[in-house]
Every structure is written in C-alpha cells, then in structure tokens.
C-alpha cells in the first residue's frame, strides 16, 4: 500500500467518523466541534487532490467564520433545553434504510468498473513550480469574471438581508439623532454649580 493510499484512508476514516458523531450527538455545541473535525479531514482530502487553494479556503472560511458563527448562535440562544429533549428514534430506521440503498446504488454506479484506475488514469502529479492559486486566478479573472462579480453582489445582498432580518423592530436599536446633536447648546451639556466649601464654614 502506498503512502498516498494510507493518507487517503486515514483522512476518510476521520471524515466519516466525525460526520457520524456529528449527526448523532445530542449537544449542538459538540456537533459543531465534530463538524469542524470533518471539515479539516475534507480539506486534507482536497489537498490530496491538489486543490490547495480551496482546502485553505475551506478551513479559513468555514472553520474560521461559519462554524464560529454557529457557535455564537448556540451560545446566544441558550438552546440546551430544547436539544436535550430532542428525540430522534422515530425516523432512524427509515433514514438508515434510505441511506443504505443510496450507498449501495452509488457503489454500483461509481465502482471501479466505471471510474477505476484503468478507466480514468490517475494524472501525473504537478511539479514544485506549479501554483494552484495562479491557475485558478487566471480562470477566475478572465473566463469567470462575470460570475465572480455576481458572487460579490450576492454576498452584499446576504449581509444586508441578515442585518435587516435581525434588526427589524425599533425597540433595541441605538441610533444617532443628527438634529439633536446639531442643535445642542453649551447650557444643555454643562451645568455650573456653586458648592459651598466646608472649610470656609468652619471658620
């Protein structure tokens, strides 16, 4: 067994194991941590596939931003009570049956007879002077520049939508009142009081 194969099986094992632990853990915070482990394993597998840029992006964006967002929401909402009484017995047999059938069909379709090494040969590994980021950037800024701009607009819309959804009502909002700030006078802010000094009264 080659070293690459050993790496593939180790990463695959952790990917599958942490995904299973994620869906069967009752605590939402633990589920997030298991999902982080499975994202790390996915990134390792992507590096085996020579997609370094996307692997690093997966770790930075998903583990660094999205999963932390999940953890923030879990911490803010204090949902431990609702997850404790989450019962998942009812649909487990049906779900397992559906998953087993899908996996069996996929193995039949995607087996080594159709996508094995003798059908799709493994490509030659790139040399040390190959840069994945350069290749992706050449594609992204020439052929796919219009979808790239659209993705930026989509992210902007997502930001605005998220903020608008959460800040809908006026009660909790702290906002600036420009007319009050402009019309303020010195007497509104400073109050001069004369305090009788206690030492003088003693004399």
């Amino acid at each position: 067994m080659e070293f690459e194969q050993i790496l593939f099986y180790v990463f695959s094992f952790w990917f599958v194991a942490s995904s299973l632990a994620m869906i069967f853990s009752r605590n939402a915070a633990k589920a997030v941590l298991f999902l982080i482990l499975s994202f790390f394993s996915a990134a390792s597998i992507w590096i085996l596939l020579e997609a370094e840029f996307l692997a690093i992006t997966l770790i930075l964006v998903y583990v660094g931003a999205v999963m932390v967002l999940f953890l923030f929401v879990i911490k803010m909402l204090n949902i431990d009570k609702s997850t404790l009484r989450a019962k998942f017995a009812g649909y487990l047999p049906l779900g397992l049956m559906v998953a087993a059938v899908i996996i069996a069909e996929m193995v039949l379709v995607l087996g080594s007879a159709q996508f094995g090494l003798d059908v799709v040969a493994a490509p030659v590994r790139h040399g040390a002077d190959y840069s994945n980021i350069t290749v992706l950037a050449m594609q992204l800024y020439t052929t796919y520049v219009y979808p790239f701009e659209l993705a930026a607009v989509l992210l902007l819309i997502a930001i605005i939508a998220a903020i608008t959804l959460v800040h809908r009502n006026e009660i909790n909002r702290k906002k600036q009142s420009i007319p009050e700030q402009v019309n303020v006078q010195a007497k509104d802010r400073v109050r001069l009081v004369s305090i009788a000094s206690p030492n003088k009264e003693k004399k």
Partner: protein, 101 residues
C-alpha cells in the same frame, strides 16, 4: 494509487450521512443547517475529484462559487433562526407550523 471511484464513493457516503442527519435530527434547526453543510462538502469533494482526474480547473471554480453561496445561506439561515427564537422562544421545528402546510 487512489482511484477516482474511491473519492466518489467517499463523497457518496458523506452525502448519505448528511441525509440521515436530516432524517434523524428533525427537531433541531441548527443541526439541520449543519447537515446541509455536510452535504455541500460532499458535493464539493465530487467536483474537486473530477477536476483533478480530468485535468480541468472549471470544477474548482465551481466549488469556489458553491462555497460563496453556502456562506451566504448560513448567514441568512442563522438570522432567520435568531428571529424564530425571538418570536417563538424555541428553535424546535415543531413550533414552525404557522402556515399549516
């Protein structure tokens, strides 16, 4: 050598785990969102495996856009979740039956 079918079967297994997660955790919306993330990662692994074995970078570009859309989806999904918790006091799926669908 690791063949293309190994990667494809691995991502099929991960996809099915995400599917079982949606079946199993029907009560908790946060876990449902995380299962959707798992399914998306499985699909992305498919794209990258094909891109590597066929020598075409378009698959990796597609994964880039899928990551963008998934990040937007998570942000809006969690915002809706916060609203739901604020209005109903729970994030149980069973309380979201106002539409009587």
């Amino acid at each position: 050598m690791v063949s293309l079918s190994d990667y494809l079967i691995l991502s099929a297994i991960i996809f099915c785990i995400g599917l079982v997660g949606i079946f199993v955790n029907r009560t908790n919306i946060i876990t449902l969102l995380m299962c959707v993330e798992l399914i998306l990662v499985a699909v992305n692994t498919n794209f990258i495996a094909f891109s590597h074995f066929l020598g075409n970078e378009a698959g990796q570009i597609f994964v880039f856009f899928i990551l963008t859309v998934a990040a937007a989806e998570v942000a809006i999904g969690l915002a809706i979740l916060t609203l739901l918790f604020r209005n109903k006091g729970s994030i149980n799926v069973d309380v979201t039956n106002s539409l009587k669908g």
